[in-house]
Structures are given as C-alpha cells and as structure tokens.
C-alpha cells in the first residue's frame, strides 16, 4: 500500500492547483515544498492574470493578496535615447472580474497553497524531493532529504519548476540547451505610494504594466516595469547564450535601463529592497517535454508551459491551468485505479482543448521572432526613427512624406524590406 494517493512536488502555482483539485476530489495528497514557505523560492516579473482562477477559486479577487490591479498596459520600444510607447488604459480592468494584478509571489503562492490545505491537502515545507522512487519503469514515489524520507504514492505530479530534476530523471525532459532559456533579474524598489500614483498616473489600487523592447544592449531580451502598492518591480529577461558569450552582466544592463531617459524619472529616488533572479523556459511549445509516464505527470514550468515573448510574460496562469488539469486527470485515474501512462492520458487531452496548449501551439514561433536581431535592434531603431521624424517640425523645410522617411530610416537602420515582410508574415501567422 502506498503512503498516500498522490504526491505533488513543488508548492508553486502549478503544484498548489494540482493539490487543490486532488483534495477536492477527496484524494489524500502531500504537497512538498523545499522552501520554508510556499513562494519563498519563487520570483517573477509581477503580474498574475486571474481568469484561470474564476472557476478554481470563485470570487478570488476579494481574497487574493493583490498589490494593484493593472488598468494601464504599455509597450515601450526604445533605442539608446528614444522611446516609443503604445499605452492602453481601461477602467474596466479595475473592477470585477478584473484582468491582471500585480502581486508578490511569496504572498500569492502561500495564499494559493492555503486553498489546497483548506481543501484537505497536507503541505510539507522545508522538504526537498531529491529523486524518484521507481518500480521498473513506473514512478512509485519520491525520495526526500529528511531522515527516513522515502514517500510512496499511486501518482506523482512534478510541479518543481523550470529546473525540474524530477522530469529529467524520469527521462521526460531532455532539454538543457541554454538557447531554450532566459534568465530574469529584478529589483524591488520602494517608493511612497503617492509618488507611484503620481508618476504613473493612477489612483487607489490601480496599477501599470510596462513591457520594454530594445533595452538590453548587447544581449537579446526584454525589460519590464510594474507597480506594486509601494514598490516597483523593475527587471530584465536575458538570453542565456548571449550572456554567457561575454555579454554585459545582468545588473549592469539593468542599471543602464534604469538610466534611460524614459525610465529614470519613473524610478529615481527609490530604494532597492530586494534583488532576485530566476530562469524562464523560453522556447515554448517546441521545448515541451512528454507530459506523463507511468505514475507521473508534469505541469507548469517543469513542462515549459511559460509564455515569455515580447509583450507576453505569462506563466502563472499556465501553471495554474496545467496544474489543475493534472490534478483532475490524476483524480480520474485514481478513481479508475489506473495511473499508468495510458490511465493518465486524459491530462494531455485536457490541455490540448484548453488555452494552455492552444496558446502555446499558436505562439510557438513567437520566442524566435522576438529574440531575432531584427526585432531586438533594427525594428526599435526603425520605429523610433520614423516617429522622431514624423513628430519633428522641420519648417521652413517642407514636411517630408512618410514614404521618404520610411525609406531613409530603413536604410539608416540597415533593415531590408524583404526581412520585414517575411518577419511580418511569420508574425501574422503566429500572432494573427
């Protein structure tokens, strides 16, 4: 007899959602977390998109530990001294059912794991799963680093994040090519609440979300800036191979972005309260592992279900979606008494029909497009150059026509129309 019906490894959003669904289905479940509390090991940019919670935790917006509701979303394209911003705001994101919210992960993850324990899951913190227990090819439990730490179960759900050693050990996850990953660094910068309200033009519990392209110098990547109640989250997402190839160090790139004339007035005078770093599975659909084997499922970042490309920086919602699907599929399999790979196949089909895999399949090319030199350097230069020429008043010279500006700027930025067209077509196929 195994010790418990199910073991979920990792109390991040994926693990908490999986444990919640299993506990609700009446299954005994242990939720293992290596940190001293859920969320203690986790960092991200800063915005949770809550739609996925509507069914899982109805009325979540009244109780989730939210910093600010995002009512302004801006994309900034910058060169060394220019910035072009598309800035959208809607008050409707500032009232139920809301859209995105800034939150601190140690608060948010602990809250979501609390939902699982309320439903009956047993949370075991400060406990690292160090390996899998197997019976032949079948996963029958995990080994932990506590004395007498072996634990057996009918099904194990690996929600152990981007480095997932469990998925690797099970042979599900062969990818360790650095090209599939980016590393995120961020500063949490304290500013008085009123100063944030004023600088970002928001009131009350409304907040702002900036995604930034062209701010990472010699390393492909992107930047972000989010408002919390009385701090800002300012950070970069950087390509690993370029960093490793002797690129500028992360904190120096971050310093430069903070000095950019478009960013400096927003962050100046703030005090750095916390620095943090974490790796992101960047390559999306194409790097996704097998999602199950006999006795085990993989969800969240452990299955590379994270969308980090340009104006998207999403993962918590995919983690919750895939974790919940894994929990439900495991509960069904337990009920039928078959937790073999076939018995667990319901997981993949659930994901295929939900936004989790649909979005990822659709956007499978997005990471390559966004990380390309064209998108990283040439297009920002082009866009900012055209805008500057359009807005500049040159009289008594007559105003140049847009076509002429475009031609000149294409040339100045070394952009070939052919590349832009093919890029746009791919982008249209991907995003359209």
């Amino acid at each position: 007899m195994p010790d418990v019906d199910a073991i979920v490894v990792g109390a991040g959003p994926a693990g908490a959602a999986a444990a919640l669904e299993l506990a609700r289905a009446g299954r005994s479940v242990y939720l293992l977390e290596r940190g001293p509390f859920p969320g203690s090991k986790n960092m991200y940019g800063g915005v949770v998109y809550g739609r996925i919670l509507d069914t899982l935790v109805p009325g979540w917006w009244d109780e989730a530990p939210v910093q600010r509701w995002v009512t302004r979303r801006a994309t900034m394209i910058m060169t060394g001294h220019q910035a072009l911003t598309v800035d959208f705001r809607t008050e409707s994101w500032g009232r139920p059912p809301y859209n995105g919210a800034t939150a601190y992960r140690p608060d948010f993850d602990a809250w979501l794991a609390g939902k699982a324990t309320d439903a009956g899951a047993v949370l075991v913190t400060s406990t690292t799963a160090t390996g899998l227990l197997r019976d032949g090819d079948r996963v029958v439990g995990v080994r932990t680093d506590r004395p007498d730490g072996d634990l057996t179960a009918d099904v194990v759900i690996a929600c152990d994040g981007v480095n997932s050693f469990l998925a690797k050990e099970a042979g599900l996850y062969p990818h360790t090519d650095p090209a599939n990953f980016t590393v995120g660094v961020k500063e949490t910068i304290a500013l008085p609440r009123e100063v944030i309200d004023e600088r970002f033009g928001v009131r009350g519990d409304h907040g702002v979300d900036y995604e930034i392209v062209g701010c990472t110098g010699d390393v492909p990547g992107g930047g972000f800036l989010y408002t919390n109640t009385d701090t800002l989250s300012v950070g970069l997402v950087l390509s690993l191979p370029a960093l490793a190839a002797g690129g500028t160090r992360p904190e120096e790139l971050l310093r430069r972005m903070k000095e950019h004339p478009a960013i400096a007035p927003l962050v100046e005078g703030g005090e750095v309260k916390e620095y943090s770093a974490h790796v992101i599975p960047e390559a999306g659909y194409d790097m996704m592992p097998e999602l199950s084997c006999d006795g085990m499922l993989v969800a969240g970042d452990a299955a590379a279900m994270c969308l980090a490309a340009g104006i998207w920086l999403e993962g918590v919602n995919f983690a919750i979606g895939s974790g919940a699907a894994a929990g439900r599929a495991a509960a069904r399999a337990l009920q039928r008494g078959d937790t073999s790979n076939e018995g667990l196949a319901g997981y993949r089909s659930r994901l295929e029909s939900s936004f989790v895999l649909a979005d990822h399949r659709k956007l499978r090319d997005a990471p390559h497009l966004v990380m390309s030199d064209l998108a990283q350097r040439q297009l920002p230069g082009l866009a900012c150059g055209v805008a500057e020429r359009m807005f500049r008043v040159d009289n008594p010279e007559p105003k140049p026509g847009l076509r002429r500006i475009l031609r000149q700027e294409l040339k100045r930025n070394g952009v070939k129309v052919r590349d832009v067209v093919s890029h746009s077509l791919r982008a249209l196929r991907t995003f359209g």
Binding site: Y30, P36, F37, P38, G39, S40, P106, D107, A110, V122, V124, S126, T127, T144, R146, P147, D148, G149, D150, L151
Partner: protein, 283 residues
C-alpha cells in the same frame, strides 16, 4: 528533571528604519517570513541534547498568537515532547513576555529545572527575557553562551563570550536559565514521518493575561534626568550663545581605559557618580 526551551515567534527579516532605528514588519504580524530565530532553534537543539543525556522530557514554551502553531508543530516533529503556547499577541515587551513564560515554566505547571533560550530575537530584541526569567524563577543564569556541555547531575559547563574576544568558562547547576547564540548548535531535521504526523499533534494553549495587564509601551525615549543650567550671562547675544553651547570652553576628551571587568565596573560607577547620574550610595 524537566528541560524546557523558550522560543519567540518573530519576523525573521524585519525592516529597520535607517534613521530612527524603529523595527517594522513588512507583511504585518504573521506574514510568511515569520518564524523562530537561529538562536532559538539552537536553544531547542541544546534542550533536546540535555534531555537526551539526562533522560529528561523536553518542553517548548512560546508566548505568541495562534499563527505560531505550524512552526511549533515542526518542533514536535523534531523530537520535543510537548509544546505550550501562551496565547498572547506577537509584540509583547520582554518583561511582560517573561512573566507569561515564567508562569508556565514554574513549579506549579511545567516545573522546568533547566530553561534554554536564544540569546536575542531577530527583531532587534534586547536579550533580556532570559534574565527576567531567571529572576522570576529564582534560577541561576548563564547568558550569551557559545558552548554548552552537560556534566553529571544536572550541571552544565558553558562558555560565554565576553568583550574584546575573551571567553568565560562557567559551570551552572539546576535550577538554571541558559541563553545561547545561534552558532551553538543546529536544530536537528525532523524525520519525514514525524513531520507528516505533526499536523495532528496538539499544541497546548494557556490563556495569556488580558491585554490591559500589559504595561503600555513608553511613548517617549528615555532620557537621563535633567540638570539645571544657569541662564547665560553676557551683554552680547553672541557671548551668550558661545557660553550656552560651551563652544570655546575646554572640555575633557573621552577616555579609553582597559581594566579587568571588576575594576572596569567600578570605574564606570565612579564616572557616573561624577557626572551626577548616580547618588553617592550608587542608587
């Protein structure tokens, strides 16, 4: 024999105002970063070791709110026999907490012969709770220890850190209160089965004293008693200001003396008397 450890539930990484030195909890009391300090964990480990050598049961006492219980259950999993929580708020002043703890530790209740505490808590605590406890329990005290070794018959040999890198070796016997630094020992890891079972184990709860018994916190900083300074004399405002501030008056430069502890204490008392902070009889 009964061995006990006292632990405080605190914010392990509070925010300290750089200008005023005030300590503030980032997430408010009970946030995710709350727990028990390295030194308190070491105290529990020392208690467990003493309990093992003397075949004595080990209890842990904590004065704090219900939010502390998950952390206290981890101690049960690590091998503590019973845990008592005195139901109080999280931010009690040291002397009030000591009264609560002493009531539970005293002969009438636990009857603890040895009490081990951490030397001071993570939220810039003053480290005075163990001394208050020793006072209330009428026990010997050995505080700020960097090593504790049990010797036979309810005695310990301990090493204490003194100023200037010196060490003091002392021996204490029951009843005694010890306080230890975090480096003394690392709390053992609880086995998995005990950790899983700990959720169902009981934390005994004793009511704390009603809040109105707790002294209100001091609202102004403490200052030495004022001395009467005569009004400055002088015809010009400048003279009076110079006289008032003592800017041009010769003054005694600060002194540094190196003396044996007893002589140093005498020297300090003499100096305080000279300045008028103490009466001639040292009161």
């Amino acid at each position: 024999m009964q061995v006990a450890a006292c632990v405080k539930w605190v914010d392990l990484r509070p925010e300290v105002d750089r200008v005023h030195g005030t300590v503030r909890s980032v997430g408010g009391p009970g946030g995710a970063g709350w727990g028990i300090s390295e030194a308190d964990r070491a105290a529990v480990e020392v208690a467990l070791q003493l309990g093992a050598v003397w075949s004595a049961p080990v209890a842990v006492v904590c004065a704090g709110p219900v939010g502390a219980e998950p952390v206290l259950r981890e101690l049960l999993a690590a091998g503590v026999d019973r845990v008592v929580r005195v139901d109080t708020g999280a931010d009690q002043p040291s002397h009030a907490a000591a009264v609560e703890l002493a009531a539970v530790l005293s002969a009438g209740q636990l009857g603890a012969d040895v009490v081990v505490c951490g030397d001071h808590s993570a939220d810039r605590g003053s480290g005075t709770v163990p001394a208050f406890l020793a006072h209330h329990l009428g026990a010997a005290q050995a505080l700020g220890l960097v090593r504790v070794e049990p010797v036979a018959g309810g005695r310990v040999r301990a090493v204490r850190r003194l100023d200037g890198g010196r060490r003091e070796v002392l021996e204490a016997a029951v009843p005694m209160v010890l306080s230890v630094e975090g480096s003394v020992a690392e709390l053992r890891r609880a086995p998995l089965a005990a950790t899983l079972a700990s959720g169902g184990r009981e934390v005994e709860v004793r009511p704390g004293r009603p809040a109105h018994h707790v002294e209100p916190p001091r609202t102004r900083p403490w200052r030495p008693p004022p001395r009467v300074v005569p009004a400055p004399a002088g015809d010009h405002a400048l003279d009076r200001v110079v006289q008032l501030t003592g800017a041009l008056v010769e003054r005694n430069p600060p002194r540094t003396v190196e003396l044996a502890p007893a002589a140093a204490a005498r020297e300090i008392l003499d100096q305080l008397r000279t300045w008028g902070y103490l009466g001639a009889d040292g009161e």
